[in-house]
Every structure is written in structure tokens, then in C-alpha cells.
Assembly symmetry: D2
Homo-oligomer: 295 residues x 4
């Protein structure tokens, strides 16, 4: 397929590279153009504007937040104005359910296709084409872009026609990951202060009831206190927790652990940890218990 | 080995049966004697007093809380008074680190052995001899009772000489399970109110980052709202969260999610849910969001 | 003075009436015009549009939230477009610090004056002209509208030139009131369940360390379980807690009690209490402890 | 009256001095005898044992916690063994409702009187004889010791016959004070980070809805960051919050703000603040927001 790719951060660059490896024609755009060069070296065509990245069958956006996706979509010479009829916007960013709905409506009005397709996985998983894709949209549209999902991920879950559902599941999943970070951080602060070795403790957990990637990945980062360089920054972590809280406000669902996480992330940011990996929130329990601050 | 077994609840009865299956001689005691009969039918000898269960190489206690373990150990004609020198008390109950330490000291003073060996797993796992055993004590003592652990569990983790460590790890593990219940409950209240199917949501989670027994087991109970009969009651859940909080107080480690869980369990008990499975605390988020109360 | 008044809810109607009593010429506007009639009977001139209310020396807005204030200010034929140069917009609504700043800037650009002047007090205090006014803006501008403040309140606190400060203080004050509601609610759930009379308990508190209007007012509502009709609805309470949380996010200040209150208000709304007085959040502790829901 | 006084800390020494000033005969005992000398200089008789302090009409205990009160009451040659029949034990310490009940029962069994009479007020209030006394017990017994209350306090509230009620009210009152510290701390962290002067902010609050001693006293300590020397230590603050949580567990009442306070006090203790005034927990919000730690 001819695919435009907008947003070449840690995640996007790896996803675009896998599209190239799978034989797709990729036209790549990034706000700061230095990120484009590396991808061109792998065979991509550089785009000097959003519009240039919208000349193919589909365009994928992988950006930091609602504001960035709104800017490239609704702005002058944005995706909405540039994409041919019938072509498809695949939104892989973690954005609000409210924006997902607005994007779907706007593209439908313009005769374009839209699929919400957020992904689970850190940059390593993106590089290995092992992401999990959560997709929602019209089923014919999803079929058309299935080769995209196959190229970037290990499995795709289709959640129906309503794009908000895909974003809500992604948001709630990130909330669950952050919850694992917080609760493992509390447990490790407790057993660690009693002298239990944190690596051995983690091995025990992940050999038994907690034998899952989320415990191995984040437990490892916590046990090794390895918060830099960030795979996913604390700043982005706060953004995602706020998306969960907003979704809860819209649906009138209180989320006390998400509220705690909001305050934890604010504490981490206010005390110098904005650029640490978001797993560093799990080190705040030990900090409160008298250990060093992670930043 | 000749083994006494004290405490034939859901867990203890299954563990004792597996000791019999493995060829051990088991003398069984329970406060209410009706539980003993079923085990006698499988080949156990009945004991009409704690002392009668203390005539072998080891005695295992599997009781509800600190008070019950204190009563059978320190009471008149209790374990301490009845166990031969060199024989071993294996404490598999989930008790406080403080009691673990007192038991270890008292048995050492009496020339008896002591191993803290709490277990992870619900009654089904106990019945299938698939528990995980977390053991701490003198290494020679642990070696002696290894056949016991092999008969009841799938794997034993030895945590060193300090029995408190085994109980602390068990307590923190139960805290982590309760945290999964709470956070899954919040996430399911959120996506469920938006119309996402909870079973499909759980399948997505457990096929990806959350592919662990704890998510499958408790996620299944929550998705099916299957809180009765209880594998582990809310009352016992509260007891275990309080053990985590007490350990945190002793070590000066704040545990905000454990504090939230304490309040959740109190709410569940105060609103009629004492006898529900402890996974019912995960249904309180949906209740607060306008759904039916689980009781 | 010739004063326009926009927003004749419980609070605004009482404030406008006091301006009339103090001898000012008041032109009153409300989106639903039936509220205007009562004020016309007391001597006000009716305005059929926002612009008509902007022909005097000052216009006061007393509206429910940011959206409403934005609509009347920035909309077509809004305050910004209608107010004469040198005339003053007095914003008494509880709005975000971010909006306060935008309003100040926009009016400055248009050669108009702007004062942020949120007020503390419930409808009864508004009716009695006993509000407390918290004002910020250019000092000459504040001097000009001081007769307005004298007519509606018992005391005015001037907080300097930055209008955001007035709104932040108002927001934090409402957070403190909500905190009193929550904590009194918890304390009353506790002593009430033990059989202590809540009225007697409140009398003890307010005769000693807690001898303040906030405890007498909200404690009385809680002790009498008098949540309807609402002086200030739960829906507005949630709005104000969210303003506090937003201000905390902007300034990177975690606010755990505000987070708890957010979840409490969402619970109250989701369980049928949107139209109750916001003091009903204080009854949720007793509900969790087994008593009746306040709605 | 002939009165024994046991426990000459900051509070007890001041109370005993006021009993002397009111003309009572006071026999004073303290575990570390150096505290007795100052009181002897004011006219008290020194007691070298608990029993010596139990030879009058009444004995007052003012001690740090349950353990201390249990030790002097139930220990060998303790109050229970030493007090004449008909004489009265006045327990002014902040202790658990459970201990209050055991004391009442034990003294009744011994033919002695018992009154639970915890007090509200800091050392300054104790020195000025301006405490508030919350008393419960048999009404004839309370009448007998009313001269004691008149000598130490400005007002006595009688709560009926059940001594647990007095202790529960005291415990819940201390919880409310701690809540004011926490919530004022959050509000001051917020407005302070925006540049609002904390003293001016406090004056605004205490001139309006928050015009109560609790806001003036603790708000002043927070605004001046005056946490040492302690009028009431963080260690004692934690003890009292735990008493509230225990009472909540017994009555099945969740107390989320008390849970937060527990974690706050643990944080303060673990980071070096055990000996600070308990108002220092209110400085932890600013610490989390990037300011200096109070210790």
C-alpha cells in the first residue's frame, strides 16, 4: 500500500520502519524534519508537509496528544483537507474518546475513511513488530488497512464500529499498566525496606500468579531503578491518566486509583522527574518511606 | 513422614488430602470435628485435641488469622507444650510478621523447629496440589519438611532464615492480588458503562500485557459477577489488607492503595457483603457508578 | 451607578436586588427571561439581549461556569463587542484561572476595564447582602466598582492586580468548604453509627475548636440530612472541584483530598444526586457504612 | 479534693498545676521523676509510685497511649489494685474506645468509679485552664469530679453514661483537626505556588467562613512553617489517626481522609519528622509540589 506516516517519535519511527520492511511505500512526515532522514535511509520518501503525506491509500498518525492530532488533522492544509476521497486516516495515537468521535465524524463528512487503532507496547515491541493493535471503525475500512496492522503488530483486536471504544480500551489499558507500576512500587517499598531482595521478589511474583509481560517489564525497571532513558515519559503518563479521568467524568465513573496516579504523576513532575520513564512513579513509595528520590 | 494437620477449612482440607495421596501419615485436627470425618475417609487418623496432632515429625497449621494460630500454639496443651523436641511446626496461615517472629522464638526456646510457609493459591489450586509455597526458616529444618511442600505445591521458594520475610512476601502478594481486583474493577466499570463487553475486554487484556493467572482468575469472576460461593471471603480479604497496613506501619512505609482497599473492604462488609468472595470489592466501582450492589 | 447584570440564578437575582436596594440603576438580563420579571417588579429595567445590559458603567456576570461566561463575553453581540470603552466587566462567577486571564487580556485589548470578583456565601448570604467579595484587578478599576461590592457584600478583600489570584483563592476556598463537608461526613458517620446524637456532636464541635460558619452551616445540613432544595447543586460542586484540580495541574500541585472529592461527586451524580445540595457528598460515608443513600 | 495525678507531660503538668491553683491537694506521679519537682515547687506532694498517687478521692491519668494507661492501671500495684473503693479514676488520655470499655468494666468490678474525660486543647490552652472536657460515665460519678473539670477547662460536655462515647468523640475530633491541617496544607501549597501570600490568604479565610480557632491555630503554624518545638508530635498524631481507623474498623465505617492521613503521617515519620509538630503533615503537599521538606 501507499501509506503516509505522520509522527516519528520512538514509537512512530519503529512502526514506519516495519511498514517499509513489509514492502509498503511509506511517505514520512515529522514536525522536526531531522527524524525523517533516518527513515529515508531505509527507503521512505520524505514529506515536507502534512499534505504531502496524504497522497496515498492511507495516512497513519502517531502523535503525543489530542492537540497534536487536532493540529495535523483540522489545520490548514491538514489531513482533512488533503486526503483523497475513500482514503483512510488511521489514528494510532492515544487520544480522548471525544476526539476519536470528532475525527470519525469529520472524515465521514468528507467522504474519507477513519479507523481508530491505538496500540499497546513500548518502543522495543514497536521495533520488533510485536505491538497489539486495538481497532474500531467500519468493517470494510478496517479490512482495507489490515495489511498495515499485520506489518506493525503481532495481533489485532477489532472492537466494532465505534472508534471511541478503541480509544477507551487503550486509555483503560494504560491506566491498568500505571496501576501495576504504582502497586508494585508500594509492594517493593515494603518488602525492600524489610531487606528482601527486589529482584528475587519479582522473580517469585512472575513465576506464579503474576506471570505476565506487564509485571516482568515494569517490575524489572523498578527493581533495577532504571528510569532513564525513558521509553515513555512521565509527562505522557500524566496525559494518559488524565484521559482516563476525563473518560470517567464523561461516563460518571469514579476511579480512585486513577485519581491517586494523577497526584503521583504531578508529584513526579513537580520534583524534577518529567523526563524519566513513567515507571518512576513506582519509586515514589520508597521515596516517601525514606529512600532517595528517583530524579 | 508422620504429620499432624490443624485447620481443615477449604484450603487445609485440600492440603491434608494431598499429603495423604503422597503417602504421608496424617493425623488431622479441626475445632469443629465434622470436618475431620471426610479426611478420615481418605485415610487420616482423627485427633480429638491439638496435642494428639503433635505426636509426629511435623505439625502444619492452616488457620484463619493470628488469634487462631496463637490459640493452638500458646494455649494449654497447645503445640508448644505438646510437640516433641526436634519436631517442626510448619505455619502456612497468612499471619502477621510480628506473630511469625514470636512463633520462631518460642519454638527455638523449646528446642523445636519452626518454618514459616505461607502458600499462594485458591482452593482449586490447593486441591490440585498446585500451590506456591513461600518458605523461610533454618535451612536444615526446611530440608526436613521439603516432602511436605512437594506434596501440596507445584513450586517452593526459599526466602532465607528469617520467617518474617516469608509472611511479609505472602502479605504483600495478597495486597497485589487485591490491587488487581480493585483496578480491574475500576477499568471494567469504565469500559462496561460505555458498552464494551467485559468478557471480550478481559480476553484482550489477558491475550496481551496482562497474560497472567491473577488477571484470568479475578477478571473472570468480575466479568461474570460470580462472587458466591466464596473461595476466599471478603472478611478474610480485609484481614489480609490490614496485615499489609500493619507491616507498613512497623516499617514506616505508606501504602495508599492498601489504604483504599481497607476502606473498600469495610464498605463491602458494612453493606452486606462479608460472605462474598473478596473479588466482590472489584464490583464496588460499578456500584458507585450507578449499577447494582454485588450483595 | 448604571449597572448591567447578567445571570439571575439563586445568587445573581439576590445580588441584583441588593444593587437596586442600594439605589443603583440595574438593567438585568437572563437567558431564560422569566427570571427577569421578578427583578423588574423591584425596579430593574429588562434587557432582551446581552448587548442591552452593556450600556452602563459596569456589567456584572454571575453565571454557572466557564462555558457560560465565554458565551456571553466572546459571542456575537457579546460583552466584549457591546461594552463602551472605559466601562468595566465585573466577573463574579467561579471560573478557571485560565479564563480569568483571557478575559482580562481581551478587555484590556478592547480598552475596557476588568475585575475578577468572585464571592463567598450561599443564597441566604447573597439575599442578606452579606457576601464576602474577593477582588483582583487594576486598583483604579476596583475603586470605581467598590460601590457595587459594598451593595452586595459585608467585606471585600483586594488581592492585587492579577485577576487569576482572585479566582484561585475562590476555587481553593470552595475546595476547603467541600473538604469540611467530606470530613464532617466521615466523622458523623463514625460517631452516628456508635449512637452519638449528631446534633449534639455538632454543637460540641462548633462550641469549641470548630466555631466557624462553615461548620455550622454544613454541619447543620448534614446533621438534619437536609439536601433539598439545593443552595448549590452537586453538579456545581463537581465543577468547582474540577477547577481546583485543573489549577493544581497547571501549577503542578497534587491535591489528594480534591481527588477524593472528585470521585465522591461523580458517585453522587451517578447514583441520582445531581440536583441535591453539594453537602450531600458528606452523606456518602454513612451510605458506605450501611445507611440510606441521600437521593 | 484530694487528687492523684499520673502523667506530667506538656499537657498533664499544666492540668495538675491548675488543680493546685484551684486549691486541690495534688499528689503527682511521673515515670521519669524529674518532671515531678517542678510541680512540687508549686505545692504538690511527690509520689514515688502509682499506688501512692491513688490514696485520694480521685486519680487522673494523662498519658501518651493505650499501652501506658494499661500499664499504670492493670500492672502490679497499679491503679486498680491501689484505689480505695468509691474513689474515681478519671481517664483524660486519648485512648481507644475498646480500652475505655475495659477500664470502665474493671473499675466497676472493683467497686471503684470511672469517668472517661478526654480534653481538647494544646498545651497553651491547658496552661490557661481553657481546655474543653468531654466526659462520660455514671452521672453521680461525674458530679463528684466536676470540680476537677472546672479547674482545668473552660467548659465540660457530658455525653452520657457510656465512656466509649467520650473517647470516640475525642478521637473523631482529632481526626477533624488533622483533616484541617491536611486540607489547609493542600490549599496553601496551591495558592502559595501561584504567589499568593499565605498569611494574607489565611487572614481572608479566618475573617470569613473559616473563622474558628482550629483554622487560626493550625493555619498560623502552616503559614509560618513553625513546626518545632512540637505542641503535639507527629508520632502522637499518627497514634490518634490510627485510633480513628480502628474505631472505624470496629464500627465498619470507611474513612478515606483518615486513611490518607495515616499515609501522610507515616511519610512524615519515615522522612525524619517524628518529633515535629503534627501540623507538619500539612507541609507535605508543598514538598510534593517541589518545595523543601519540613524536617
Amino acid at each position: 500500500m501507499k501509506i503516509g506516516f505522520i509522527g516519528l517519535g520512538n514509537m512512530g519511527a519503529a512502526m514506519a520502519a516495519n511498514l517499509l520492511s513489509a514492502g509498503h511505500e511509506v511517505t514520512a512526515y515529522n514536525r522536526s524534519p531531522d527524524k525523517v532522514a533516518a527513515l529515508v535511509a531505509r527507503g521512505a520518501r520524505p514529506a515536507s508537509s502534512v499534505g504531502e503525506a496524504c497522497q496515498g491509500d492511507a495516512v497513519i498518525t502517531m502523535l503525543a496528544n489530542d492537540t497534536a492530532v487536532e493540529a495535523v488533522t483540522f489545520g490548514d492544509h491538514g489531513i482533512l483537507a488533503s486526503l483523497p476521497e475513500e482514503a483512510i486516516h488511521v489514528s494510532s495515537s492515544t487520544v480522548s474518546t471525544e476526539l476519536a468521535e470528532r475525527l470519525a465524524q469529520a472524515h465521514a463528512d468528507a467522504g474519507q475513511g477513519f479507523v481508530a487503532a491505538p496500540v499497546f507496547g513500548r518502543p522495543e515491541a514497536a521495533a520488533a513488530a510485536e505491538l497489539f493493535v486495538v481497532a474500531a471503525g467500519a468493517s470494510a475500512t478496517i479490512s482495507t488497512v489490515t495489511p498495515v496492522f499485520d506489518a506493525i503488530g503481532q495481533r489485532t483486536f477489532v472492537l466494532g464500529e465505534d472508534p471511541r471504544a478503541a480509544n477507551l480500551v487503550k486509555i483503560s489499558g494504560n491506566f491498568l499498566i500505571a496501576s501495576v507500576i504504582e502497586t508494585l512500587g508500594e509492594a517493593m517499598a515494603l518488602v525492600g525496606k524489610a531487606g528482601v531482595d527486589k529482584q528475587q521478589y519479582l522473580e517469585l511474583l512472575t513465576s506464579t500468579l503474576f506471570d505476565a509481560p506487564v509485571y516482568r517489564t515494569y517490575g524489572g525497571l523498578l527493581a533495577r531503578e532504571e528510569f532513564s532513558p525513558a521509553g515513555f515519559t512521565a509527562t505522557l503518563g500524566l496525559k494518559d491518566v488524565k484521559l482516563a479521568l476525563s473518560a470517567g467524568e464523561e461516563l460518571q465513573v469514579p476511579l480512585p486509583v486513577a485519581s491517586l496516579l494523577r497526584d503521583r504523576f504531578l508529584t513526579l513532575l513537580a520534583t524534577g522527574g518529567s523526563d524519566l520513564d513513567w515507571s518512576a512513579v513506582g519509586a515514589l513509595s520508597a521515596w516517601e518511606a525514606g529512600a532517595q528520590h528517583p530524579a
